[in-house]
């Protein structure tokens, strides 16, 4: 009897583990897993009914054509995104996504973190002058930001052992000084971007 219980318990754990890890791999947000995904709404409904009467939320992304002069530092094609995020890969090379504010967006949190991470990565890449150091080095920095994107503090969390390499990373951060295009909700900022780790790997 005891064995049966143990077996049941273990099987339960394995399945839970599998479901959780699969959901993570396939990028399915379990908390977000509601009826809206299983029942697509016909397009006309969206236009006939006012948004307030519907509990359903929509994903909607508007693409702004940006002229080359005003091209943002972020090149969307450089971002490495998973298939589920490919909705964001846009028509034009110079296009930049802006998220429509008037409706509540249901772009899941992980996607948003990824996008803002890419924005940060791009801005660092643009100014990091990597020295010719031995292969296999990496340095970890911890950055503290304020919601405007300004860098308050930077500390070396794990040095690479090569002073010049560590300095090149610190210089890159100093040159950025303030991250642009990081407008996000206070919660998202506090949870992820107030303090985060930057890893420099040549």
């Amino acid at each position: 009897m005891q064995n049966l219980f143990a077996g049941f318990f273990i099987s339960l754990l394995i399945h839970m583990g599998l479901v959780l890890s699969l959901s993570n791999i396939l990028n399915i947000d379990l908390l977000d897993f509601q009826a809206e995904y299983s029942a697509p709404i016909p397009a006309y409904l969206v236009f006939e009914q006012p948004a307030s009467t519907s509990k359903k939320e929509y994903r909607r992304i508007v693409i702004n054509e940006v002229t080359p002069e005003s091209k943002a530092q972020v090149d969307i094609n450089e971002m490495v995104l998973k298939p589920s995020q490919e909705i964001l890969i846009l028509k034009s090379k110079t296009a930049r996504p802006t998220i429509v504010k008037e409706k509540k967006i249901n772009l899941n949190e992980k996607n948003r973190i990824l996008i803002f991470s890419s924005i940060i990565e791009e801005q660092i890449r643009a100014v990091w002058k990597k020295p010719i150091v031995p292969e296999g080095l990496s340095v970890e920095l911890v950055l503290s930001l304020v919601p405007t994107g300004e860098i308050l503090d930077v500390k070396i969390k794990r040095p690479s052992g090569n002073e010049a390499f560590d300095r090149s990373a610190l210089i890159a951060v100093a040159r950025v000084n303030k991250f642009e295009n990081l407008s996000m909700s206070a919660k998202l900022f506090d949870d992820n971007f107030r303090n985060f780790t930057l890893i420099f790997k040549p």
């Binding site: 583990g17 599998l18 959780l20 292969e135 090569n162 985060f196 780790t197 890893i199 040549p202």
Partner: protein, 434 residues
């Protein structure tokens, strides 16, 4: 059961790791823009006019491998000579990454100068390095190269090579009758002769302290190995054995030389003990084993052998004597040299009938061809591992020249050689540091 528990635990940890860890953003690439350096002309307090300008030497040095862009004095907005005088705003405006300020001051000793300088990080307004050095007015040129080395090391994290030298053999040509063992600075200055002979001179190799050179000379009619002290010119012959004595390679501890002897009937690798003047056999194979080179840690040697039919690179562990083949691509791989990290080697690789210098990562097995010239021979690595020098043919002038390439393959250059018969370059170790 325990194994199963571990699986469950790792699955749970794996699936939950995303929710609990701090955000980590990985930066794997940077901009291709070179690092911008500005060196303000140093203050000069001596009565006589400066024989040369340090900032000009440093500019030439730092720009030689296209790794830095150096601001010219005429483009500067201010000319501070002390750290306290620096207005960082000026230099940020000019997009300068590193600023060097300093002065050359009169010394109490006649003919001597005191030099002090600082390397400043402009973005963070910090002093990276401060140095005070003394030297003679005559050696100002070498002091300049030394400052370049310091700047290079502080910024790039690997030693600079502007004070290093290259030994090479100059073959007889139309206006020259003898073989000439010479050394030159890497910028082509200070070229001088070490040994002249009417018979061939081959395979120069530096001692690890940079004070001696070993080479093969045919002056006695047969190939013999000699060592020569640079400061005194004193020569010493290694104990001669019957047949070929060739390809000396100094061990990293300086106590022995690996070389090739054919006294056993065919060329094999031997080890020469410089203290006891005795030879010890390393390889014994009916094929030809030649061109040994020591690994930087002194534990193994790489060499060329035709034991499998075609010349390939092998590695022998000196204590276990185990031999392992290292190259499998192509039918000609020879004259291998380790890079200072010991993880990569370079060698002459034949591809479609043309000889090139190849870089081979021993760990990953990745091979990349570094040169696009013709008949490339005898590569030698700079002591910081960043540049390779080799002998090649100048197709247009039909002369032998020494050419160089950076390890990333991006920058290529030719060393100025007057006679057009330069062969067998050997890069010195890092020489005297101030």
């Amino acid at each position: 059961m325990k194994f199963l528990n571990k699986i469950i635990l790792s699955l749970l940890i794996f699936s939950s790791s995303y929710f609990y860890s701090q955000l980590r953003i990985e930066i794997t690439g940077g901009t291709d823009e070179p690092i911008k350096v500005a060196m303000v002309p140093f203050e000069w307090t001596l009565d006589q006019a400066p024989p040369l300008y340090l900032h000009e030497i440093v500019k030439k040095d730092l720009e030689s491998f296209a790794e830095f862009s150096v601001l010219s004095p005429e483009d500067m907005l201010s000319y501070p000579t002390l750290e306290e005088e620096v207005s960082y705003r000026d230099w940020r405006l000019l997009k300068v990454d590193y600023l060097i300020v300093g002065s050359v001051l009169k010394s109490e000793t006649e003919g001597e100068v005191n030099i002090s300088y600082s390397i400043l990080d402009v973005s963070r307004q910090k002093n990276v390095h401060k140095a005070i050095m003394m030297g003679s007015l005559k050696s100002l040129n070498r002091i300049g190269h030394n400052i370049s080395d310091r700047i290079y090391e502080k910024i790039n994290g690997i030693p600079g090579i502007f004070s290093t030298r290259i030994a090479y053999v100059d073959k007889p040509s139309a206006n020259k009758e003898s073989y000439d063992l010479r050394i030159t600075d890497i910028n082509g200055e200070g070229d001088l002769s070490l040994f002249l002979s009417s018979q061939p001179i081959l395979s120069p190799d530096w001692s690890p302290d940079g004070k001696q050179i070993a080479y093969v000379s045919f002056e006695e009619g047969t190939s013999r190995i000699y060592t020569q002290e640079l400061s005194t010119g004193n020569r010493r012959a290694l104990k001669h054995e019957k047949g070929i004595n060739s390809s000396p390679s100094w061990s990293p501890d300086g106590k022995s030389l690996a070389a090739v002897l054919s006294k056993g009937g065919n060329p094999d690798l031997y080890l020469y003990d410089l203290k006891n003047n005795s030879w010890r056999q390393l390889t014994d194979h009916y094929g030809i084993d030649t061109e040994p080179d020591w690994s930087p840690n002194g534990k193994s040697l790489i060499f060329t052998s035709n034991r499998s039919g075609s010349p390939q690179i092998y590695e022998i562990n000196v204590s276990s004597m185990r031999v392992k083949r290292k190259t499998f691509e192509g039918t000609y791989n020879a004259r291998a040299r380790y890079l200072p990290d010991g993880k990569k080697i370079i060698y002459v690789h034949r591809k479609k009938g043309v000889f090139h210098i190849a870089l081979h990562n021993l760990k990953t097995g990745k091979i990349s061809i570094l040169t696009d010239t013709f008949l490339d021979e005898s590569p030698s690595v700079s002591p910081n591992g960043n540049v390779i020098i080799y002998a090649t043919k100048d197709k247009i002038a039909d002369t032998d020249v020494l050419a160089g390439v950076t390890i990333n393959g991006k920058t290529k250059f030719t060393l100025p050689s007057a006679s057009g018969g330069a062969r067998e370059p050997a890069w010195s170790p890092i020489l005297d540091k101030y």
